[in-house]
Symmetry: C2
Subunit: 283 residues, 2 copies
Amino acid sequence: MSFADHIRACNNFNRARVVPLMAGERRIGWLRRDNAAALARFPAVFAVEPERVRLVAWGDVDAVSAAVDEVVEALVVENRVPKWRNETFDVMPRWGEPPLFRLDRGAVPFFGVRAYGVDLNGYRRDRGGLHLWVGRRAPDKRVAPNKLDNTVAGGIGNGYGVAATLAKEADEEAAIPASLIERAVPVGAITYLMENDIGIRDGVLFVYDLELPAEFVPQNRDGEIVQFELMPALSVIERIRATDDFKFDVNLVYLDFALRHGLIPVDDPEYLIVASGLHRPLD
Amino acid sequence: MSFADHIRACNNFNRARVVPLMAGERRIGWLRRDNAAALARFPAVFAVEPERVRLVAWGDVDAVSAAVDEVVEALVVENRVPKWRNETFDVMPRWGEPPLFRLDRGAVPFFGVRAYGVDLNGYRRDRGGLHLWVGRRAPDKRVAPNKLDNTVAGGIGNGYGVAATLAKEADEEAAIPASLIERAVPVGAITYLMENDIGIRDGVLFVYDLELPAEFVPQNRDGEIVQFELMPALSVIERIRATDDFKFDVNLVYLDFALRHGLIPVDDPEYLIVASGLHRPLD
């Protein structure tokens, strides 16, 4: 393993294997060719052409969402999509624009629409240097079970903003009170583009740092994290370099933390690979 | 103006306007087509083909450097290259690999080989928030005269490493003593790809943050900076948003500083443009 391996794994997107999903003149997703073909039997919702798929369902956000949801139901029956059924994401050509429709979270990678999330580095400054509160994901998580994870991480569901999602997830995942989460500092975003078993994960993670007081110990409330451990940040980075113990994109978030806090020396042979590998330009 | 304008200006590279400069099977530069054509009369050094130029000069680093330098002399006579004559850059396929040859700094953009530099954010933490020591470039600088610049910035010349360049430039440009510069924290790198009047600027800037004590005032020794001013970091960012007062790539370095220090709120409409626009992936 190396830092580069993790960056490559999260950016294994291959343009030749996909076609764009278009809404009017704007691309809103990437469909793997097998996924595009599976949409051909829903011509009232999607027009499947050789080198693109067009969203043709007509109407307001509710109408388009309902039309797409019928397609998703059929894809769930075919086992192409693991439906979440309790959380939808807004589909927008660009972040902050009005949503075109809402999409069940489980179907997001099938259509390759951009998925936004928050990620919080909860850290402590001890005499021995920076320490990170690292969680372990529950064994029943569909994505990356048992892998190590950040203090707080979660997708931005329909209707939630970035800060509201952070506060909600911080409460549910780590019992971080509002008075503490207010001090979290937004420090950028990680972007990556990855093919997975379902389709394309076009990931954008809003990253926050939060210095936690010595007496604070995170406690999970929602069952998604089974354990928290305070680890020296340098050990986290060496473990990332050597293993696959962390969830795929959490490797990138911690590498960004390490870089920003001066924990990777400039003479590390992978310094520029890390510095230029965590922020894939968004189109 | 907007943040995006500065990012676009530094990434106006257009693949259709260039051909790769190859050393064996590896690309080492980008030649604008007019620059490639100008190399056709040096067939012992460069083989100009329709869609690429190959370095064919033969021998060790000294021999290849001498052969390329003869070409550069001719290009200087033709006013295609402003020769520096006192500083050479190492040309390497990748950072840290053995150099293939040394190239006069003035000719670096003509060949579009990657240029490495250091950039130091010298800042102070006052009651009113973060302040940055901003320099103004001398009116006789060939690149970006009179523009605002960072506390310390400089190219990494042949034979110098990153840290050595930082220490040397910090002394020359801002009279920062060794005891202070040792505390500078490496926090990543900015990467961009820009066409300019000479050719292609493939820029990599190793970025450092240095918290400066209240009593320290930077003083220029080498005539490259005519004045330093301590500015509130938020004012620097608003001035970047509104004006062209800063050197092109310094806009990107300060945007990175602002992002890392939480000075750009996540609901800024340009947040993701900035977060994903400062680290163009290196090939």
